[in-house]
């Protein structure tokens, strides 16, 4: 008997399963594409149920994730749940940039891609305003646009979106100005998936080991295994970032904390979060080490809105949208809030 061998054996078997088990399909909820621009596509999920709402709900994920994270599994899908609650749901799928998109900056992402998407969605829904839900970096971008062009915003939800970047946890440690010279580290056309993946692995170094034990433990239950593997797809399938955007974002957000302290200028206009006057819902997760709640909650005090709601959910960064906390906490919270604030 070799002490420690059982856990090691579990990791080995988990690693083997991880390398060989097919990943489940994702993004399965029926939809139609209502707008396309460059690599971006806007997916529309028609509302069902008894109490159908009119105001469109726009989901904005992070640029570094695939949009399917909000439609990961049929029974754990934010888009499917919200549309079944009667909301017309639109998902912004940023797509995967190519080298030709290397010069895209924050101004392009906000004004050419996101703002136009919101405009086309409002036209499609026949409504003057929309309820915009931003997740993680998607929340940061949605808030920046709401500050620059608030006209189309009926409400803004910021889920696990960091704003006080000095409290940004381990990721901030990795990109702090004394650690990373962005002009040297983020050159070339795109920031590669490999570079980003290495960075994300360092956020939870031991998690890269212990996850194989979790995979091994799930191997006896096909449904659980499919769930674990769907999450693996989320973690594995990152998206490269245009280097210009990445430099601008890391410098202004993580190195200068310019969203709350001021000084982030986009196309000649400084971002001032006090320009956000629509109702705001700030949601943070208790055990989030990617966007710690200390980094997410300060935005509640920074907007110009007189209707700000703050909630902390007892879960982690991913669990809040695909774990049991999603159906227990997040989705009922969103449904109630959307119904309360819509015009």
């Amino acid at each position: 008997m070799i002490p420690g061998a059982d856990a090691t054996s579990q990791v080995q078997r988990g690693w083997l399963l991880h390398a060989t088990v097919a990943r489940p399909p994702v993004g399965q909820t029926a939809h139609v594409v209502v707008h396309q621009h460059d690599k971006l596509a806007v997916r529309y999920y028609a509302p069902t149920g008894e109490s159908i709402q009119k105001t469109p709900v726009i989901l904005v994920p992070s640029l570094i994730n695939r949009a399917y994270i909000l439609d990961l599994e049929p029974d754990r899908s934010v888009v499917a749940s919200l549309s079944a609650m009667g909301h017309p749901v639109y998902l912004v799928d940023w797509g995967i940039p190519g080298e030709e998109d290397a010069a895209e900056d924050t101004g392009y992402v906000l004004h050419e891609l996101l703002s136009r998407s919101i405009d086309r969605i409002c036209r499609h829904a026949g409504q003057p305003k929309a309820l915009v839900f931003g997740y993680c970096q998607g929340g940061v971008l949605a808030a920046m646009l709401a500050a620059l062009a608030p006209e189309r915003f009926a409400g803004l939800v910021l889920l696990n979106a960091p704003f006080r970047f000095s409290e940004g946890g381990r990721f901030r440690d990795l990109v702090a100005p004394e650690v990373m010279d962005v002009d040297k580290a983020l050159t070339g056309g795109l920031v590669s998936v490999e570079s980003m993946s290495a960075g994300f692995k360092l956020l939870d170094p031991m998690g890269n080991w212990t996850k194989y034990i979790g995979i091994e433990k799930a191997s006896g239950d096909p449904a659980r295994m499919a769930r674990v593997m769907a999450r693996e797809r989320w973690l594995e399938e990152n998206v490269p970032l245009p280097a210009v955007f990445a430099r601008e974002f890391i410098r202004n957000a993580y190195q200068k904390d310019a969203l709350l302290d001021g000084g982030w200028v986009v196309r000649g206009k400084e971002i001032d979060l006090r320009n956000i006057t629509c109702p705001v819902l700030v949601v943070a997760s208790e055990r989030d080490f990617i966007a710690p709640k200390e980094a997410c909650l300060p935005v509640a005090e920074a907007t110009g809105s007189d209707d700000v709601t703050v909630e902390v959910i007892p879960t982690g960064h991913i669990g809040c949208v695909v774990g049991s906390a999603a159906s227990r906490h997040l989705l009922p919270l969103l449904d109630g809030w959307f119904r309360r604030v819509q015009p």
Partner: protein, 145 residues
């Protein structure tokens, strides 16, 4: 695939040893992630990787250029032109949609003014009828029978 049965389950000493190792490794990683030298080397490493990749891409481009083949840069340039054209089309679409919005507004305003003028015409006709009636009565009242 079939997984062989797990052979060492339930050994308490083994699990304790593993837990100690995991705790030790977690602490070690924590200390490394607080170490400026380690973090600095990560940043430098990323810069080196980026430089290496750029050099690799350039080398491939040079080879393709010598073989009179389209290079990666050529492809990027072409794709960029397509993207710029799409951006311009999007701006034209914006203008068309905005013009359409204005036309719809104008049509609405025109419809409202048509309705208002029709209502005014009706009102005027009614007033005229009333005046005609009053005149007829006045004239009729003045005639001797």
């Amino acid at each position: 695939m079939s997984i062989p049965p797990f052979g060492f389950a339930g050994n308490e000493a083994s699990n304790q040893l593993y837990e100690q190792w995991e705790k030790g490794m977690t602490e070690w990683w924590e200390s490394m992630m607080q170490n400026p030298a380690f973090l600095g080397s990560l940043g430098d490493n990323m810069a080196s990787m980026t430089q290496m990749r750029t050099a690799w891409d350039d080398a491939i481009d040079q080879g393709l250029e010598r073989a009179r083949m389209p290079t990666r840069k050529d492809m990027i340039r072409l794709a960029s032109i397509v993207s710029l054209l799409e951006d311009k089309l999007m701006k034209v679409e914006d203008q068309l949609l905005n013009s359409n919005d204005r036309l719809v507004e104008m049509e609405k305003a025109l419809l409202v003014s048509r309705i208002e003028s029709a209502e005014m015409r009706l009102e005027l006709n009614e007033r005229l009828s009333r005046i005609e009636l009053a005149l007829e009565r006045a004239l009729g009242g003045g005639e001797s029978k």
